[in-house]
Amino acid sequence: MTSTVSAMQRRDDRPPFEFGYWLQTNVLSLGKIITLLLLIALNIWIIGAGMQANPLTTTAVIMLWSVFGGLIAYNMVRHNHVHGTLREVKVRIYTSLHGALVSLFLLVVLGLALYAFVRYVTFWPRWEAIVVNFRLLMVGRYPRALTWRPVAAALFVAALGVASLLTWGPVSRRLFRYRKVMIGLWLASPIILGIILYGVGAAYDAPDAGPLGTVNTRLWGGLMLTLIISVVAIVVSFPLGVSLALGRQSHYPVVKYFCIGYIELIRGVPLITVLFMAEFMLPLFLPGGLTVDSLIRVTVGFTLFSAAYLAENVRGGLQAVPRGQYEAAYAVGLNTYQTTRRIILPQALRAVIPAIVGQFIGLFKDTSLVAIIGVFDLLSIGRAVLGQQEYRSRQAEIYLFVGLIYFVGASGMSYASRRLETRLGVGER
């Protein structure tokens, strides 16, 4: 009741129409959004022009402006002119003058960074370097006439992803019965993708080659290659890492010490060393004449490297599961395998999702190291583009573009991990 009364009072107290008040209330309307966007655009335009004419003075003006703006905002919030969400912001940020100053400083820094970025993106870049070399950045030196094959592969994966979302997602319960088909398709997808991308039969440029003639992996590159290496390494290293973590706790000394030895060995050397080993030393160990594709060697190197780190992360999770869980599981008659599979691993893995995803994000970005053994991933293709005479000075654009792709991939994983945590967090004690 009281809240209704105060709301009514507030409505009565409200002046008929006041521009500043209208902007501050947190009810969003189309008119307000457009007004705000126009204001922002106007500011950017004014500041942009000022910056070109006299950067130093303009920067000083912006900083002063921010400080005053922040103080005004602080005062407004303090005197409860702002309601709802902004009020929560107030509680979080403006609980003390100290906090207010830190927030203000950070806001100014953020504002300047944003400003510099927006200014750069609006006025300077010449994106032709990327537009012209887009195909190169995406698929590397994959034959131009066969570009449809990577596109088909991407569409296939996208379709599979959408179908999975429909099957497991909240759209319709009925679709859930197709889950076995979906699992089958996912299991078959490496072969299908292999056929689409690598092809079958004669080389693509041989006279008797069909539309699916083989394309040597030396011609693969760009984003496609980065994605292949990281996805395969992530997918394969996960079960491998979990097995190593479990093996490390095994009662069988041979299994236990093998796992410990493996994990410590891999963790003791840099990734680059592992990659060099995979590239140059692996062939020496293989029986004579047998050669393994360079791409496979690199991917195996990444997988083995990632598995060792993953094992240590999972071990942390295993140690976080209380002893009572093992005891309860054994007491109801579950055997060791069932206990691990149904009781221990679900809890252990849930506890270390952030660590595991963090590691996968690291792996995704570390794929750029393959450049040193001559595999053309996204970043090295970018560098190759910079080697072209006419785009020599387009570093900013290229690195911005490449960085953006990595950022989208990494933050996508990060987002997925948070979603997963929330979903699995149900009923946490």
Binding site: V332, G333, I343, R429
Partner: protein, 280 residues
């Protein structure tokens, strides 16, 4: 179980009610129990934690349908003993035979015993990532290989029995301690065990929740389940136990029907212990 028709002859007091009749008779004459088969047989069970001799030769027989309550000071080995009965702890000397199966290093024997023995823990130890229903049906589905429908049906009956049918789809973290412990009892019962072990089931509970758990345990005892319970609930022991064992320093100091042991202890150590827990 054979019930001698003349078992109550010679008793001068009146019997409380039909349900408790059998227990009442048993706790005063022990006739029925002596005719029942041996469910748990322990012969000179000994166990060490490194140098510490925690069980120093326990010998006892628990008959089918018997309710045995174990009391004793902390560190007396009572929890260790009850955990040896389903091999959560390993004994080093002596024999433990449960339902005719000897607990040895043979994992098949251990798993066979664990299928027939339910256990309830002080800290509940429910599986926090599974719903109440999943907690209960997990073992029947995976160990007994029951179809899901059957397991669910039985789980519903059990939840009815422990009086929380409406909580089936919650997670353990959303329940009170007393409710969690009742789910833990239902989970143990879902395997249709022949013996139930209770390891201080009410010690971690708030006082007002102890009763709801004891009620369930009492019903269970009256239904004829073989029970071995470590507990300090003397009311429970008096009411349903056939026998109370007093543990101290890894030995059974004294064992007797509850009324005899509580009212007329023979050993000094028992008297001291009882005076301390009864007059605090």
């Amino acid at each position: 179980m054979p019930v001698p028709t003349d078992a109550h002859k010679g008793l001068s007091y009146s019997l409380p009610n039909a349900l408790t009749t059998r227990r009442f008779l048993e706790s005063h004459s022990m006739t029925i129990i002596e005719n029942a088969k041996d469910m748990i047989v322990c012969r000179d069970v000994q166990k060490w934690y490194d140098e510490f001799h925690v069980l120093r030769g326990i010998s006892t027989i628990v008959r089918e349908g018997e309710v045995v309550v174990i009391v004793g000071p902390s560190g007396s080995g009572k929890s260790t003993f009850i955990r040896c009965l389903n091999r959560l702890e390993e004994h080093q000397e002596g024999d433990i035979i449960v339902d005719g199966i000897e607990l040895s290093h043979d994992i098949r024997n251990i798993e066979a015993v664990r299928r027939e023995v339910g256990m309830v823990f002080q800290q509940f130890n429910l599986f926090p990532h599974l719903t109440v229903m999943e907690n209960i049906t997990l073992a029947p589905i995976n160990v007994r290989r029951w179809p899901k429908d059957k397991a669910t049906e039985i789980a519903e009956q059990l939840l009815e029995r422990v009086k929380i049918p409406e909580q089936a789809h919650k997670y353990p973290g959303q329940l009170s301690g007393g409710q969690q412990q009742r789910v833990a009892i239902a989970r143990a019962l879902a395997m249709q065990p022949k013996v139930m072990l209770f390891d201080e089931p009410t010690s971690a509970l708030d006082p007002e929740m102890i009763k709801e758990v004891l009620d369930v345990m009492r019903d269970l005892a009256l239904s004829g389940m073989t029970i071995v319970a470590v507990t300090h609930e003397m009311g429970f022991a008096r009411e349903v136990a056939n026998r109370v064992m007093f543990f101290d320093q890894g030995l059974v100091v004294e064992e007797a029907p509850p009324n005899d042991l509580f009212n007329n202890p023979q050993e000094d150590r028992t008297k001291l212990f009882l005076s301390q827990i009864l007059h605090h």
